[in-house]
Symmetry: C2
Subunit: 353 residues, 2 copies
Amino acid sequence: MIKIEPPRLRASSDVPGGRRKQRVSMADVARLAGVSSQTVSRVANGSPGVVETTREQVLAAMSELGYRPNSAARSLRYGRFNTIGVILFGLSSIGNSRTVEAIATHAAAEGYAITLIPVGAPTQDNVLGAFTRMGELAVDGVILIIEVHLLDAAAVTLPPGAHVVVVDSDAGDRYPVVDTDQADGARQAVRHLLDLGHHTVWHLAGPAGSFSAERRASAWRQVLEEAGRPVPALERGDWSADSGYRAGLRLAADPSCTAIFAANDQMALGVLRALHERGRRVPEEVSVVGFDDVADAGSYLPPLTTVHQDFAEVGRRCVDALLRQIHDEPSGPGTDLVATRLVVRASTAAPEV
Amino acid sequence: MIKIEPPRLRASSDVPGGRRKQRVSMADVARLAGVSSQTVSRVANGSPGVVETTREQVLAAMSELGYRPNSAARSLRYGRFNTIGVILFGLSSIGNSRTVEAIATHAAAEGYAITLIPVGAPTQDNVLGAFTRMGELAVDGVILIIEVHLLDAAAVTLPPGAHVVVVDSDAGDRYPVVDTDQADGARQAVRHLLDLGHHTVWHLAGPAGSFSAERRASAWRQVLEEAGRPVPALERGDWSADSGYRAGLRLAADPSCTAIFAANDQMALGVLRALHERGRRVPEEVSVVGFDDVADAGSYLPPLTTVHQDFAEVGRRCVDALLRQIHDEPSGPGTDLVATRLVVRASTAAPEV
DNA sequence: CGGTGTCATGTTTACGTAAACATGACTGCC
DNA sequence: GGCAGTCATGTTTACGTAAACATGACACCG
């Protein structure tokens, strides 16, 4: 059973002085155990050189008083916080939340906690505010899940010597970057459609400001050009299923369009809906490929062929790269790409003759 | 433009001693400005009683040295961290990530940062570990997004006087609880189907250990009983679309089943797929209602009628309730329910005659 | 012109921890 | 039996900040 003692009132008179001690310190434990506070510290940290009987007395005193180490004092002493900051715009994007989860899990395994620093909207003020606060935050390093060009728009100065790792961006010349191999994933998607026999592939891209949207779009274009195929006009959405639906209606109106590569699964879902409403059968008449491989993609109608991203691996590598910096191991700017793989389901097929 | 100075090497010789100072402290600023460190403190905190010329000297020295307050020292001094811990199993559930996002945003507005404390799997060891760590964490209070009965299984002791708020649980007798009004949402869903003329409603519930799954299921049962309708056997899934698909195949095999209430949208998606594969038309032959109103629900085939949860409001109220505790304002156990509303789309209709 | 106030600024101290150094007891060796 | 060495434990100090108290300069008053 969980045991929780009722919160004591601030004004209680546990202590003769009338004001109770807010917190149990090593000195309190030391007093009760009849040793010095340094001995308590040694016990708390498992340092050698404490005789078994003494150790037991101290442990008994600790549990009697309910001693908990004060991490503020520890951090002050060590100059480290054992905490990583994660700056992001929002968790609403599925990729972000999965990356953050992986970061949190992996960081916890390494003894680090995660502090979330959300910036509400990509306005200069908000970004600036997040960074100003960051300087004061109890953080040993920062992972940016944010389009760096948005930071560029804000005149922001990171504290010199700040440890930074960037996700999903093109800042590889200035910071270590960890990212999904967007270009290769997009190439796999487009080649898959061409291999099936489609003459060319339409693309529904993400918003113009997004790095990953640009990467996926340019890889799409490149594959088509290399294969000597015509490059249809680009459609743009905002990652949402609704925007995919609207673009899908436009694409459905073009009878020559038999293959669509959507820049994420949600937009692909919208495309599927639009094609269905317009009576264009998937995959018989039109093939659709997504990107991300969200948990639900296998349950779309039809189950979606898509590019699987390993968000967990991205999070893991972010933490590793950041910890390497924090521990002063060699690491400079450069981009670490995580492989993708195409998951073929039922939304793609050879075109009807 | 973002400006970042290259991280200096630990062994640099900025300082005659050979070891550079890790960080700029108030004392350094004070030395440069020719004042005492206390005056620097006064400037930093905007305390009155500093003459304009002095203030300017100090500010100049601060920016020259790139001074940043040390939050560890601040926390030690004040006994507060301005940080809220969030303990959860995972962000993969859509509701969780949206709640966390709202918590982070609202907390930031109140000057608090968020520390994520993930517990990998609901095992005793993991939960215990999270709480043991929590005692050492730099946190003023904790929001639990976790099934409390899982905590009960682990013999865990929260530090006395710990500030706690619980989401999505039945611990209202012991802690303040903030939650979506699960029961009312489920009632709206079931009544909607009955009002359309369905004789009864099948239910695809979430996993047995989940509080919200139980709440939704018992509200479903209650509405049927009150209306004097037969209560079909309960199907169970694990929240995933796949589990919804499997349950959907079973339900599709029963020709008397014309109305299904799935405990979340993802399972509803799986049900839609199963019905489609079995050739049962939605909503003409079978009506389906979900729960959550995820962003994509309007793009399912057909667009899903579902119960909208206001995750942002849940997050906001959690933070408010926790800050109230931290600031010693009156607040005891009890449950604060956030209203839901039924969003009618195209997956429900009157049964065919 | 001395006394009293006011105000800007400096000095001391405490927050909780742990490294570095100090002490004192006991062991073992010649 | 005395001395070096080892080992458990105690004492001092520093980490960066800010409250509490102290100081010293100047102004205004009778």
